[in-house]
């Protein structure tokens, strides 16, 4: 077996998403993370009202991620065939939930900060 390099993965994801979407994501993702950290620092901790709303959006986002993946791959929950499938599906849900919650928290935080300014 050979090595799976970062260069190979970049090539594969470029083919999967198209170079424009791929590189846009590469640029946007760190910017989003910086914005999230900025909100956290600016508010000196977690702002509970925004956090609660973000959690609700996270629940929806996680479920939506699973739904989109199942739809894109012509599969359903009943196709889970072993523990690794459940782990993979749960990972998709968790990834979608955390991602959408972070996006929601950042947007809400930025809006609230703007209002308070």
């Amino acid at each position: 077996m050979g090595q799976l390099s970062i260069a190979t993965l970049i090539a594969i994801f470029q083919e999967m998403l198209g170079p424009v979407v791929f590189w846009a994501l590469v640029v946007i993702a760190p910017l989003g993370l910086i914005a999230f950290l900025y909100v956290l620092i600016a508010q000196r901790g977690v702002f509970s009202r925004a956090f609660l709303r973000a959690e609700v959006i996270g629940l929806i986002g996680g479920t939506l991620s699973v739904f989109v993946l199942l739809t894109l791959t012509n599969s359903s929950i009943t196709d889970m065939g072993g523990p690794i499938d459940i782990i993979a599906l749960a990972s998709v849900w968790i990834g979608g939930a955390i991602g959408s919650a972070m996006i929601a928290y950042t947007i809400i935080g930025l809006l609230l900060k703007r209002r308070s300014d």
Binding site: M1, S5, A7, E15, L72, T73, S75, G81, G82
Partner: protein
């Protein structure tokens, strides 16, 4: 990776480490194995290299040679304007995609510093180091890489007419993406109405030996989804005494057929078909037997293209001589009688695997040997016979079948993705992972 091991607090064995790494990096079976010499300085050369065939193997070779050589005159020969992603044919024939799913333009994949001659090779003169194209153009070379693929020999099945695919219950996934789409229409009509579905494979070497099995399972699944499985009889006519050449997987398939209620007969080699009467004839040890069907997925016998068969390149003796597969050392892919000639992909006369995954693993090895020849060195790269087949057992599940020349299981995700379990994650690899990996392979990047 050592840091990761420390994080887990326990040393990892190499295979487990590989599995975890592959999962962390999101890798798929086909994607394992990157550039052999990423970052190495290109070798300066004026060598003339001809690559025959712009399929998966040929384009991969051209791309990697263009990355590793500086100043070489690389020419690729292929008359086909369309490049076909053949692993997608079963998905098209399952009704999940249209024919366009597998079609791109050959021109899109030709590396910038490679000359494409839009003609097929008509004759090989390996003693004189030249190839002649269909228009009579003679091209001399210092190195030749033959990746001419396979010829679907429909003509050797008496009564077969490719134009009839999609009609009268006649399916044949292999012929083209359009034929795969037409096969879906015929299969769908059959699973609506019921009757006998007949599946088989020829006695020759074939592309992806799992594909005839996959389509049996896909048809079973289609009938079940429609609630019509009770109206459908599925019969698999094996060409010898097994369903699959790797014994451990053969046994699993036997169990799956039993589970799905797929009947089988052994030692049946297709000989003729009466499309109008929906009847197939098979050579068997006890003579010719006919089987009536309502739907058939006809898999044509497959041989080397005529120009290769008529040349000095094929095996002279042994099991691969008759169908014209090129004689090569199974580990280096180098021709033993013409050392400046390599064969990769389906055309290579090696014991296992005519799949994109095989091509994926053969290409870097042959390229490494060729580049070492130019550089005056010696390559230690060796192809183990690795091949893989995500064996679809229903829409939404597959088994990750991976093995080598010695019928060893070669799991990409040992301990994590079992090759004997019907899994959704394996289906994900097939459904969304393989196509981008395949295209990255054409660019020499995977």
């Amino acid at each position: 990776m050592s840091d990761f091991s420390k994080m887990l607090g326990a040393p990892l064995n190499p295979s487990r480490r590989r599995a975890i790494r592959n999962i962390l990096l999101g890798g798929a079976a086909l994607s394992v194995g990157a550039r052999a010499v990423a970052g190495a300085k290109p070798v300066a050369t004026k060598a003339r290299i001809v690559v025959v065939g712009a399929g998966a193997a040929g384009l991969g070779v051209a791309a990697r040679l263009s990355q590793r050589l500086d100043g070489a005159k690389i020419t690729i020969l292929d008359a086909r304007k369309r490049h076909l992603y053949q692993p997608g044919f079963t998905l098209i024939a399952a009704g999940l995609h249209g024919a366009s799913y597998s079609v791109t333009e050959t021109a899109h994949w030709i590396p910038r510093n490679v000359d494409w001659i839009e003609e097929a090779a008509a004759a090989f003169d390996p003693a004189g180091n030249s190839v002649t194209t269909t228009s009579g153009k003679k091209i001399s070379y210092d190195f030749l890489v033959v990746a001419a693929g396979i010829q679907l020999d429909y003509a050797s099945v008496a009564g077969m007419d490719v134009a009839q695919i999609g009609k009268n219950g006649l399916g044949s996934v292999y012929a083209s993406p359009e034929a795969a789409e037409a096969t879906y229409r015929a299969m769908s009509a059959f699973t609506d109405k019921g009757g006998r579905g007949l599946f088989h494979r020829p006695a020759t070497e074939i592309k992806c030996a799992g594909a005839p099995l996959k389509y049996t399972f896909i048809t079973d699944d289609a009938a079940r989804r429609k609630g019509n499985r009770g109206k459908v009889e599925l019969l698999y006519a094996a060409h010898n005494k097994s369903f699959f050449s790797v014994p451990i997987f053969n046994e699993k398939i036997r169990m799956l057929f039993e589970d799905r209620g797929v009947k089988s007969v052994k030692d049946h080699v297709i000989k003729a078909i009466d499309i109008g009467a929906r009847r197939a004839s098979f050579d068997t040890p006890t003579g010719v037997e006919t089987i009536d069907y309502d739907f058939i997925n006809l898999v044509p016998p497959m041989r080397a293209p005529e120009a290769v068969r008529n040349s000095e390149l094929p095996w002279k003796t042994g099991g691969w001589a008759a169908d014209g597969w090129i004689e090569v050392d199974k580990h280096s892919l180098r021709h033993p009688r013409f050392p400046n000639v390599f064969a990769v992909g389906d055309i290579a006369g090696v014991p296992k695997g005519k799949t994109a995954a095989s091509a994926k693993w053969q290409v870097p090895v042959a390229v490494d040997h060729l580049v070492a020849d130019i550089a005056g060195g010696k390559s230690t790269a060796s192809y183990t016979g690795y091949t893989s087949c995500p064996l679809i057992t229903k829409i939404g599940r597959a088994m990750l079948v991976e093995f080598d020349y010695n019928n060893n299981i070669m799991s990409s995700f040992p301990g994590v993705i079992s090759p004997f379990e019907e899994l959704w994650v394996t289906w994900l690899i097939k459904a969304i992972g393989l196509k981008p990996t395949y295209y990255a392979m054409l660019r020499g990047e995977a």
